[in-house]
């Protein structure tokens, strides 16, 4: 059900995700200290290549990591065969990427 490539993809995406997650939480807590408005946040993120790269990378890692994780859960609970599992894994990954990508575009562009 899971071979070496999916395993490595999941571990490596976790490796990327962990520091980004901590960065995200830290900045969030720091930024809302004095009650931040949406305008204020957008004024800092819009046009920022740095935040675009930060959350862009986050979205890529999440899409890979979650798709493989959900694949395992679905297989172990519903026992679907690989021929359904493989397209399902792609579908989950791609939709997360599209949704996340739109959100990143929304705050950065």
């Amino acid at each position: 059900m899971i071979g070496v490539r999916l395993y490595l993809a999941q571990r490596l995406s976790a490796l990327v995700m962990a520091p980004l997650m901590i960065g995200h939480l830290a900045v969030m807590i720091y930024a809302v200290q004095n009650g931040l408005s949406a305008e204020e946040i957008l004024s800092r993120t819009q046009g920022s290549l740095w935040w675009g790269a930060f959350y862009g990378l986050f979205v890529i890692a999440v899409s890979i990591h979650a798709a493989i994780g959900v694949r395992a859960v679905v297989y172990e609970t519903a026992g679907l065969p690989e021929r359904i599992l493989n397209p399902l894994t792609w579908a989950i990954g791609v939709s997360l990427f599209v949704m996340g990508g739109r959100a990143v575009a929304g705050v950065v562009l």
Binding site: M1, I2, G3, V4, R5, L6, Y7, L8, R11, A72, Y75, E76, T77, G79, E82
Partner: protein
């Protein structure tokens, strides 16, 4: 159901592949009595047709494993006083395997997966070659020794929820054996075994939740062995098969 004067209340699962249920027995309590003693007493005194397996009675052969009060155990070395609970003693065939009859589980899948994981020795020498000296201190020998005392009892296999959920998964025992062989310098099957353990039923399915090591009667740690296989497989993939 309680431990009356000198009689143990025992529930034993009886049936076959088509189904079955628990039957209740009163078994005379004895000093230093094992769960296997209880089953044997029932078979010899009440139910001559009760099917179960054992051979050595001393924890060597691995044939006597059953579910005892919901947990997999080697029954010949499990004392009744250690496991007798509020529900008395409930004995059933091993989990995660089909049942043949009563307490005898069908071990075919367990050993088929053992073979699929290449859990067998591939000789690299013939009888005409000199014996290869093996240093007990060599790191790979130390790693193999830590996992070698497996008696094929399938207790870990019955304890593993991933085996329950994923019928393709080889399970802890087969992969633990494969790990000992990957660390054996006399073995010639490294590459085929590496392919086998990283295939779709292989080591990457393990969730590392350690039920196998919790229940292994020989206190082995298949989780660690499987982690070792994951490391080997990942390294070998990343280095194009060069890492060993």
């Amino acid at each position: 159901m309680h431990r009356r004067a000198e009689v143990l209340d025992v529930l034993v699962w009886r049936g076959d592949a088509n189904g079955g249920g628990y039957h209740s027995y009163g078994v005379p309590a004895q000093e230093s009595q094992t769960v296997l003693d209880v089953v044997t007493w029932i078979q010899q005194n009440v139910e001559p047709t009760l099917a179960y397996r054992f051979a050595c009675r001393v924890g060597m052969c691995g044939s006597c494993a059953m579910m005892v009060n919901g947990e997999p155990r080697w029954t010949c070395r499990t004392h009744v006083k250690k496991v007798f609970g509020a529900k008395g003693l409930v004995i059933a065939p091993l989990r995660n395997l089909p049942v043949i009859k009563d307490l005898a589980a069908d071990m075919a899948a367990f050993f088929d997966k053992w073979t699929a994981a290449e859990g067998r020795f591939h000789p690299s020498k013939s009888r005409n070659d000199a014996m290869e000296p093996i240093s007990p201190e060599a790191p790979n020998r130390v790693a193999a020794n830590a996992a070698i005392e497996c008696i094929n009892c399938a207790v870990c296999y019955a304890a593993c929820d991933t085996v329950t959920a994923n019928p393709d998964y080889f399970g802890p025992a087969a992969l633990n054996r494969a790990w000992t062989l990957q660390n054996d310098v006399r073995d010639a099957g490294y590459t085929v075994r590496q392919d086998a353990v990283s295939s779709s039923g292989g080591c990457f399915n393990c969730h590392s939740h350690q039920s196998c090591m919790t229940y292994c009667p020989n206190e082995l740690n298949p989780t660690a062995s499987i982690a070792g296989l994951k490391r080997l497989s990942a390294l070998s993939y990343l280095t194009g098969g060069k890492a060993r």
